[in-house]
Amino acid sequence: MIGANRLAPKKHVKEMIKMKRLLQVLAILVLASAWVVAQSSAGTGSNAGSSSGSGSMSGQSGTSNSTTPGAQGTNNGTSATPGQSTNGADSAGQTGSSTSGNTGTAGTSNGAGSSSNSSDMGGGSGNGANANGNNTSGNASGNSKGGGEIAFGTFLGLAALWEVTRRKKRAVSTL
């Protein structure tokens, strides 16, 4: 009877420790997934009127409303609706569409391409022609100062390493 009483709380404590560990993993996962979702939505959020980086654009300029980060060759720059030019000037009439993706070729766009990839986005590029989705054909290529998948992977890796080290330490201290 006494033995059973002693065993019961021990089992309970073990369960609690297990639950705590599970909770830690869950916490990291929840935060990480929230972060990933937030990161991916950050790209689309910064689209509208985001061709502000195109200081070197001459003449015909427009806004590219690109989305779809990472999608190759699709819709990385449907551009140049005249009224949406952030530069305001000289965006008369000439519309075009650049349909180049990361690997594709640039269309003949009169607007400035601006891709908003969460990983390798760019503020905007082009000389009024050949706006590329990932900004390789314009005057400037772009980088985001945001984190991206590699930052996320680094964070997760370090968190896992930290957790393993903690567990090892705990195991040693209980011995």
Binding site: R6, V30, A34, W35, A38, N143, G147
Partner: protein, 179 residues
């Protein structure tokens, strides 16, 4: 017999306290995830400008001359760099509110503390941006210089938050919050 009963009672009390702590943690983390999501509902234009400006000035001290293109875009050696929400650490700050909020303290004290955290995170963020810029200027690839450094920075902040959270749980809040 009585000693065992006392022992068992204390263990059970502790385990029920652990359970309530775990529940509180779960709520905090859920709120943190929600807070991070909420932070992305806004564009934080002013914060982007401040961050980029501070980064620009700190880089200048390190001999890196960034050229401002717009409020959230700078150029360096013909490459454009855009400051987005994650670059301002605003998501980190939002996520840290539910985790750092001390229920044993008054709202005013918590608000003051979170303001201090915001200031600290701002400085830390600008520092890590400049560090990554220096590394990039030294010839490291962007992924290593910026993204890996970002990951390490997130982890450092996480460690700090976790340590505070643990300390907070070691000293449970008083029954009546001080006002």
């Amino acid at each position: 017999m009585s000693a065992t009963a006392v022992h068992n009672a204390s263990v059970l009390t502790q385990s029920s306290r652990n359970r309530s702590q775990s529940r509180a943690l779960a709520i905090r983390f859920t709120l943190a995830a929600l807070a991070v999501a909420v932070s992305y509902f806004f564009r934080w234009e002013l914060l982007r400008l401040w961050t980029s400006e501070a980064n620009l000035r700190l880089d200048l001290l390190a001999g890196i001359h960034l050229q401002r293109i717009s409020s959230d875009t700078v150029m360096w050696r013909g490459v454009l760099y855009r400051y987005e929400n994650p670059c301002t650490f605003v998501d980190v700050w939002f996520g840290s509110i539910p985790l750092l909020w001390n229920l044993g303290r008054s709202v005013k004290r918590n608000a003051l503390f979170m303001t201090a955290v915001a200031a600290g995170l701002f400085c830390f963020n600008v520092f890590r941006l400049s560090v990554s810029d220096v590394l990039f200027a030294a010839g490291l690839p962007w992924n290593l210089a910026h993204n890996v450094v970002s990951g390490i920075s997130y982890f450092v902040v996480w460690l700090w938050i976790w340590t505070r959270l643990r300390n907070q749980q070691s000293y449970p809040p008083t029954a009546v919050p001080r006002l």
